[in-house]
């Protein structure tokens, strides 16, 4: 199934599919989750960043395989849910990150997203879309009142996009040459 997905991309585009060193994806995901749950103890403002989302976007854009992208998004989201405590039901971030993983790898297969400006723009859009799905899930499935759009969301999206540009450049080093 995954080989078919690769075949499809190769016939449609000439964009390179990147492979990573062993353990890079699992290690980065685990580290992102751990930092997300640890650093805000000492730097509360850090909570505005969503490192697991950035990792999902990056590997989605780089691997360019929708199936692996959505599965990575699902696992990352479910682990984030499970670290967030009983007030966040399992699946809230899982659903949102599954969709982002799918979208990122689908877009990555069609557009060149290696340039920092492209990375900034895609991350910002994906952040807003991600929050949109979280809000949708909260409102529709959990019946919790949640605002659709706030200024804080826009600022958070911009901040995450800035961090993404730097983080993605660092993660590029984990690629197999």
């Amino acid at each position: 199934m995954m080989n078919d997905a690769f075949d499809l991309r190769l016939t449609e585009t000439h964009i390179e599919v990147h492979k990573f060193r062993a353990g890079a994806i699992v290690g980065s995901t685990f580290l992102a989750l751990m930092l997300q749950a640890f650093i805000p103890v000492y730097i509360p403002k850090f909570a505005v960043l969503d490192l697991p989302l950035l990792i999902t976007i990056y590997f989605g854009l780089s691997r360019r395989n929708p199936s692996t992208g959505l599965l990575l998004g699902m696992f990352t989201g479910l682990l984030q849910d499970s670290l967030s405590g009983p007030t966040v039901p399992l699946g809230l971030y899982g659903i949102a990150k599954t969709i982002i993983g799918y979208l990122a790898s689908s877009i990555g297969a069609r557009l060149d997203t290696e340039h920092p400006a492209a990375r900034f723009a895609t991350t910002m859009i994906f952040f807003v879309v991600h929050q949109g799905f979280v809000t949708l899930t909260r409102r529709v499935l959990l019946a919790e009142p949640e605002p659709w759009f706030t200024l804080r969301l826009l600022i958070a999206a911009a901040l995450n996009a800035v961090v993404a540009v730097l983080l993605f450049a660092f993660l590029d080093r984990l690629r197999k040459s």
Binding site: P52, Q80, S82, P86, L90, I95
Partner: protein
């Protein structure tokens, strides 16, 4: 899947995975199940690293404060002596104001009244991995006697309650979480109303009738009605009042600094706590006891 075009396979997988998670959400809501197994695994995998990180940061801070920062000790010592003299004068003035001692006396009273309530000092080693909920992880868990629904405080005031206890760590729902709440009352008028989180730094006191007088800066204390916290512990201070019908919209600034918690005290009891009324003690004596509350008490 052999007959399905490859373009559609990932779409079908996407739909299946999302459907699965929607069902998972529905099951949790219907059965009030919280997927404990996955949470135990995840927390078990992450918490040792968090604990090590917290210890590492503590060591770095200790090294800094005990060695590098001592380079300026001589100059700072002179400055501190001067400040100390000024502070002594201020303390003498403050001691004459009995009202200033209310909050400290409440804690002293609590300490004396609950001398048989075991408490445990715990370090905060992690926070929630999302921005929507307000929870923290502690470096003690079931092995140390921490159970669900135990109260968590600091010497400044109420922090929240334990919502999940694992083997070596426990998760605390902070007062600021939108699902959090504590039985409270206004210290002057003694009007009772639950105080709950809103997801923002300020709390909400929801059921104060419009015809009741509430003053900015008025202290909000625990009422003991939630059967988790004893009476008269500081919850916060009234920070905003908006008129509304039939209830005023009262916003409360938490007494404890919930944005920056590093150490807390867990009340190791599930029995309803009762507050004995004790005479208000002198502020100086109260200060000593408040400081001592942070340690592990019998």
């Amino acid at each position: 899947m052999a007959g399905i075009p490859s373009r559609h396979r990932s779409l079908i997988l996407l739909a299946g995975v999302i459907l699965l998670q929607v069902v998972l959400l529905a099951v949790q809501i219907k059965r009030d199940s919280q997927g404990r197994l996955l949470r135990v695994w995840t927390v078990g995998a992450v918490s040792p690293f968090q604990r090590a990180g917290a210890k590492g940061i503590g060591n770095i801070r200790g090294t800094w404060s005990h060695y590098f920062a001592l380079q300026n000790t001589s100059r700072e010592n002179e400055q501190l002596r001067s400040e100390n003299d000024q502070l002594k004068l201020q303390v003498n003035q403050l001691q004459s104001k009995a009202a200033e001692a209310d909050r400290l006396a409440a804690l002293l009273n609590f300490r004396q009244a609950q001398h048989n309530v075991p408490m445990l000092a715990a370090r905060v080693i992690g926070t929630s991995a999302d921005t929507a909920s307000r929870t923290i992880y502690l470096d003690h868990g079931e092995r140390d006697g921490i159970r669900r629904n135990m109260g968590v405080i600091t010497p400044d005031g109420v922090v929240g309650k334990v919502i999940e206890s694992y083997r070596d760590t426990a998760q605390v729902l902070l007062l600021t979480d939108r699902e959090s709440g504590v039985g409270a009352m206004l210290s002057d008028s003694r009007i009772q109303s639950p105080v709950g989180g809103t997801g923002d730094p300020l709390l909400s006191m929801k059921y104060i009738p419009t015809d009741e007088t509430v003053n900015l800066g008025e202290h909000v204390i625990t009422s003991g009605m939630d059967r988790i916290f004893p009476r008269d512990l500081p919850v916060g201070v009234v920070a905003e009042i908006k008129t509304g019908r039939p209830f005023q919209q009262v916003r409360v600034r938490p007494a404890a600094n919930l944005q920056r918690l590093e150490e807390v005290i867990v009340l190791l009891t599930l029995h309803p706590l009762e507050q004995k009324k004790e005479p208000v003690a002198a502020p100086a004596e109260a200060s000593k006891t408040v400081g001592g509350t942070a340690a592990v008490n019998p």
